[in-house]
Each structure stands twice: as structure tokens, then as C-alpha cells.
């Protein structure tokens, strides 16, 4: 969205002239500036997502060794940010995210599956549990 500096009319962000008063809205070529939406095309170190907390949570709270690779990739990503390798850091962060979901998914499937089994066994009433 671009607001016309002349009349205040709101135009599409790619509009060259204001549809209301015809004032030129953009200089060609467009001045470089921060993108207005979507993922930034240039990432600063502070913008690289960090999945360390999620990795710790799936490893410890979800009881999942599949969380270990998530910690490895999160650590790798943080180390790469530190050494200025932003592209590599983003790649590792993506892998960390994937492993977080894998660990969470396995944990969720086990939990839901077990509860379903428990409920079915209870309602069937024929099974006995021995501790």
C-alpha cells in the first residue's frame, strides 16, 4: 500500500501514479528499502530464527531422542550466525525446525495412540492390566 503524498489516496504498493490525482508515486527504478512483506531477502544475524528452545523442549518434555538432532542443528545454526555465515545458519535453522517437528510428531502420535488404545481397552472391558 502506498499513500499518495499529494491527496492521501491509498494505492496499490506497485502503483506508479496515484489513481486519484495522478501524482507520481514511485521513482524508477524503485529505491532500495526494506521489503514490506514476506521473508526478508537480506537477513541480519538477529533475524535468523533460533530453534534451540524448541529443541530442548521436545528433547526433555516430549521424551524424544529425535530432539537431539534438533539441538545439534540449532547449535550449528547459532555457531554459523556467530561466524557470519548467514546462508548456512538459515539452512541449519531449517533442519533444526524440521527435527523439532519430527520429534514432536512422534511424541504426539505415541501419546494419542496410547490414549486411544487405553480408552478402547477400557470400553472393551475384557483386558486386564498388570503393573
Amino acid at each position: 500500500m502506498i499513500t499518495c503524498p499529494n491527496c492521501g489516496h491509498v494505492n496499490d504498493s506497485n502503483a506508479f501514479r496515484c489513481t486519484n490525482c495522478d501524482t507520481v508515486l514511485q521513482q524508477a527504478p524503485a529505491a532500495p528499502g526494506p521489503p514490506t512483506g514476506g521473508p526478508p531477502t537480506y537477513w541480519t544475524p538477529a533475524q535468523v530464527p533460533n530453534y534451540l528452545a524448541q529443541a530442548i523442549i521436545v528433547t526433555i518434555l516430549c521424551c524424544m531422542p529425535a530432539g537431539i538432532p534438533a539441538i545439534v542443528f540449532a547449535a550449528q545454526s547459532m555457531s554459523k550466525v556467530g561466524s557470519g555465515d548467514i546462508a548456512g545458519a538459515l539452512e541449519s535453522a531449517q533442519k533444526a525446525k524440521t527435527w523439532c517437528w519430527v520429534a514432536f510428531g512422534i511424541g504426539a502420535v505415541v501419546m494419542v495412540g496410547y490414549v486411544l488404545f487405553f480408552v478402547l481397552a477400557m470400553s472393551a472391558g475384557t483386558m486386564t492390566f498388570e503393573g
Binding site: P34, P35, T36, G37, G38, P39, P40, A46, Q47, P49, N50, L52, A53, A55, I56, I57, T59, I60, L61, C62, C63, M64, P65, G67, I68, I71, V72, A74, A75, Q76, S77, M78, S79, V81, G82, S83, I106, V110, M111, Y114, V115, F118, F129, G131
Partner: protein, 144 residues
């Protein structure tokens, strides 16, 4: 996340909803973990699949029992079930406070961590795992 977030003072509706749901889920889980004793013989919780398959505890084993004890204020018993879980409490508290602030409309910038924090966490988790599977004193104190 777009650039504009770095400048905005308010969290977006999606962010607020997401963090609100996260908090509600966490509160519900805490209530469940508080009221159902996972250490009871008739506990409805499953055994850790890794432990069931291998016979060896994973780094997360005992965290459910530890959380239950922690919610009842018994830090000693919680440490006995899973010491790492007790270590994560400050982090979880930070996340809860941050989510609460975002859910109530504030913009909270992403926390920055030192570059060595990742590998330190990895080392601590692997060391804890290694020590807790050693079936001898004093390491068995770390077993779930």
C-alpha cells in the same frame, strides 16, 4: 517474520492468538500433570517409546513425573526423576512471561543468545544422558 516487526510496538493479531493458545495449552497441560500422578501403578500415561524399545532411558525420561512433583512443590523428588527438567524451568518461565506479554498486545523482540549456547546445551544433554545410563552410584541418582 517481516522487517516491519522490528519497528512495530504491537504484536499482530495472529501472534497474540498463537501465544494465547500456547499459554492456554501449557496451563491445561500443567493442570493435567498436576492432577494425574504418572508414578501411580494405574497411570494412564505411556512409557517412553525409546525406553520401551531399547531398555535404556532417554534424556527426557522421568520428565512427566518430575513435572508432577515440581507442580506439587517437591523440588527434591523432581530432581531425582529428571534433573534436566528442573534446569529448564527458568527458560520455560521466560517463555511463559514472553508469551503472556505478546498475547496481551506487546511487541517483545526475539531474545539473543551467545553463539556458544547451542553447543553447551548439546554437551550438557549428552553428558546427562551418558551419566544416567551408568547403572552405578552416584550416577544412578540421575536415572529416572
Amino acid at each position: 517474520m517481516s522487517h516491519s516487526h522490528a519497528l512495530s510496538v504491537h504484536a499482530s493479531v495472529t501472534e497474540r492468538l498463537g501465544h494465547g493458545l500456547l499459554l492456554a495449552g501449557a496451563a491445561g497441560s500443567c493442570l493435567l500433570m498436576y492432577s494425574i500422578d504418572p508414578a501411580a501403578d494405574d497411570s494412564p500415561y505411556p512409557v517412553c517409546p525409546f525406553l520401551a524399545l531399547t531398555g535404556v532411558p532417554c534424556p527426557g525420561c522421568g520428565s512427566l513425573r518430575a513435572t508432577n512433583r515440581l507442580l506439587h512443590g517437591d523440588v527434591g523428588a523432581a530432581l531425582g526423576y529428571n534433573a534436566l527438567l528442573v534446569l529448564t524451568v527458568p527458560m520455560l518461565a521466560y517463555i511463559a512471561v514472553r508469551s503472556f506479554r505478546i498475547a496481551s498486545g506487546h511487541h517483545v523482540p526475539r531474545a539473543t543468545m551467545p553463539r556458544w549456547a547451542g553447543y553447551t546445551v548439546l554437551g550438557v544433554v549428552l553428558l546427562f544422558w551418558l551419566l544416567r545410563v551408568i547403572p552405578a552410584e552416584p550416577f544412578s541418582a540421575l536415572a529416572p
